[in-house]
Amino acid sequence: MKKLLSVLPLLAVVIGIHFLASATDTMYYLTQMTMSAYYALLIIGLCVLMGYAGQISLGHAGFFAIGGYLSAALTTHSLVSYQDNAVVSFLDSAGMLLAGHDLYGEAILVVSPWAACIVAVCTAAIIAVVIGIPVLKLKGHYLAMATLGFGIIIYRVALALEYFGEADGISEVPAFVLLPGLSVSGNFSDRVQNYYIAWGLLLIGMVLLLNLIDSRVGRALRGIHGSDEAADAMGVNTSGFKLQTFVLSAVFAAIAGVFLTHYNGGIGPSEAGVMKSVRYVAIVAVGGMAHLWGALLMGIVLNFLSLRGVFGSYDDAVFGLILILIMLFAPNGILSLNIRHRLKQLLGRGKTDKEGEV
């Protein structure tokens, strides 16, 4: 309950931004805020994996892409020509298919977004388990390279398969009707409700994770981060907790992928690219590895600036530079830099207060 209260100020900020945007006639900012919120959902999941469990993943764009691509492909590609297939007719009778008409008036039969979403997220979770069991036995460079390799395989598969649209990706993905009158889509008229859907999802995710890291699981994860062997010796099921966290962060990534794909109305292979994974890691690092609020804040700010095109053609370079600078000068994240304290120290009047050096 306390956790629920702690996100209330954030809710107030979210509503405040809405009013500010409508008052200053800059409602178009809400579009980027919506997209940033979905990316931030992935980032807070990754933050728990990296900061609390201490396991780096350079493949999270892969999970995002699994969610986005599967949902897009299932809800877009028509199954009309497979109507006699046993699986398709079973799905149809189970009410998981939607009949409709495409732009040219031809009858189409696609998987309903809810069913597609569940399939996509479950697939991501299953892949996370299958990959996670062997990968999480690795440490350091080996873990980084293995997850990077996983990310590249997903990218290659998305690029190579016609089902996923090869280099063009999938476009014209239909809206995701959550409830009657509430749908995830890029329509202008739905902008405000989508803003609240995205932020609502992010807030729910935040409450879940805040509860998680404050529970027995969270303490176990911090123990694993400190020392694998010590945690093991204390009776913590280290490999089990690592795997659970890995799968949880993969599910967060997949959900973000599903929703953002429906919101954008499409997905392309660049979403699965290595650079995206690196960017997520960079944002978690900037926020301070074990700092959910920092990750959330930086996830919103940096993604928003990037989506607004503030960095221009230097977009990737900016994230690379941020990554290096943070790791060189503030490995505990930007919020850990006590600027005033540092300045005092530099000026030679450094009286060590209790916040101290990080």
Binding site: I56, L58, L138, A144, M145, A160, V274, G320, L323, I324
Partner: protein
């Protein structure tokens, strides 16, 4: 499969394999002295090729290649001095992220200097269509340059590490850094030297392979992944293992083209990497202790 086709695939495999081996040896040199896996290793190869192509306008090719290698060595030294040298006992995670950052910055610098176009050096002898007959198969002459340059580098490095005093100091630093410091070896300079050496051989590989594989600003990541695969496959830190594993991966990859679509070629070598990591992280030829997994 006819004999000609077989030899064609084999030669292609050996060519790519020797490039992978060189990249892997670059990983090994830095890993041995520092314990760091330098994720920016592929970027050295890219820089070597790209700088040589740019210099070619002003000077003959041998000079351009030598200068490109020297400039890349300087870049390697700068990277070490600016980003690695002054860190006090950094964690592995921090070093991984820093070298990843370096590789991104290098790539972005390259794309802003040279653009996204694909470039290549001209063939050292002859042109794209001239070829040499090997047991009935037609093989480009550049293939022999790649293989010869790779073999030469391996031999020279072997001699350097075995006989010269600097080479011995580096090996001392690799086997026990503290003891090496106590013996009066400046280990920090050895680390810088390892970056310089590794950048140099990467750049030379980038030059000789450029006519066949072409150079592009983003070629580094793919090469780094394959180089790392080979380094792991051969046992991290072992040069001989890297050569054997490089040739093995190159040949496997070349023959895989006849079975699976080209688009999946990269995925295959990465799948090999994952399987090796899961099943035998100490490599095909390494012993369990040598892998030193507990060090991380």
């Amino acid at each position: 499969m006819t004999t000609e086709l077989f030899i064609q695939y084999l030669m292609a495999g050996i060519t790519y394999g020797s490039i992978y081996a060189i990249v892997a040896i670059g990983f090994n040199i830095i890993y041995n002295t520092t314990g760091i896996i330098n994720f920016a290793q592929g970027e050295f190869v890219m820089f070597g090729g790209m700088i040589a192509i740019s210099l070619l306008q002003y000077m003959p090719m041998p000079l351009a290649i030598i200068l490109a290698v020297l400039i890349t060595m300087l870049i390697g030294a700068l990277i070490e001095v600016c980003f690695i040298r002054w860190l006090k006992s950094p964690s592995v995670l921090r070093l991984i992220i820093i070298t990843i950052g370096i590789s991104i910055i290098s790539r972005e610098v390259a794309v802003h200097i040279w653009g996204e176009s694909i470039r290549s050096l001209p063939y050292f002898v002859g042109n794209e269509i001239s070829s040499v007959a090997v047991f009935g198969a037609r093989v480009s002459s550049q293939v022999f340059w790649v293989i010869a340059a790779s073999a030469l580098m391996v031999v020279c490095l072997g001699i350097f590490f075995k006989t010269t005093s600097v080479g011995r100091e580096m090996r001392a630093c690799a086997s026990n850094r503290k003891a090496a410091t106590l013996c009066g070896i400046n280990t920090q300079n050895m680390v810088t030297l390892s970056f310089v050496l590794s950048a140099g051989i990467g750049a030379l590989a980038g030059c000789v392979m450029s006519p066949i594989t072409h150079s592009q600003y983003d070629m580094g990541t793919g090469l780094a992944i394959k180089g790392f695969t080979v380094a792991i496959l051969g046992g991290l830190g072992s040069s001989g293992g890297a050569v054997a594993a490089g040739l093995l991966l190159g040949i496997l990859e070349a023959f895989s083209v006849s079975v699976v679509p080209l688009a999946f070629q990269d995925a295959i070598s990465i799948a090999i990497l994952l399987i090796i990591l899961f099943v035998r992280p100490q490599g095909l030829f390494g012993s369990k202790e040598a892998a030193g997994l507990s060090e991380f």
